[in-house]
Point group: C2
Chain length 117, copies 2
């Protein structure tokens, strides 16, 4: 844990409600071949969705992986959910990369941020 | 990454909407003295809140830490938020343990779960 890596990482900001969060919590399988490049492609692709605000990600080694996507409105989420390349990646994820996962799509009513002075 | 640890971990289930998520995304400071026991105490305490459904947690070493708490309704969240011991822990967190954090409280409209056969 270097000073450099600590300085570089920060959560996405707390936006003015309402906006949407998509919480994806997963455990991966042992076979992760192809996951890295598909994930990188999805990270690029979602940035083209109008209303995509950002994403936070954390992964406990050997444990749970959580990704939280932030979207301005339900339309932005629908567009991302309907994207053909994204749907193909989801299908491959269920076939190969995920042991189990949950998805929770929710409308933010309250948000708060703290930053050390 | 042993077979044992992979088998033991799983995300909290996807409940029937509506319910609430509290997404807490944080970067910690270098001084974590006292954090472990306070966190364990909070994990115990929140289980006594009627309407608390569970929590997912992931932490990237040296990076972001995400905790997602699931609650049946807004009242359950209000009770947890008002808990005196929880408030004292939050105050100490801002003073000592957190570099920065965001909190997003949101009402779940749609949920989905997948489990490998």
């Amino acid at each position: 844990m270097s000073d450099h890596s600590e300085a570089a990482v920060a959560p996405v900001e707390a936006f003015e409600p309402p906006y949407y969060v998509a919480v994806f919590s997963a455990v991966r399988t042992e076979d992760q071949s192809g996951y890295g490049e598909t994930n990188a492609r999805m990270e690029d692709l979602v940035k083209d969705i109008p209303g995509f605000l950002g994403a936070d990600h954390a992964q406990t080694p050997g444990g749970l992986s959580i990704t939280v996507g932030y979207f301005r409105d339900a339309d932005a989420l629908t567009e991302w959910r309907s994207n053909a390349e994204h749907r193909a990646a989801q299908k491959r994820g269920r076939a190969e990369w995920y042991q189990n996962y949950t998805l929770h799509v929710a409308k933010v009513e309250r948000s708060h941020a703290f930053k050390r002075a």
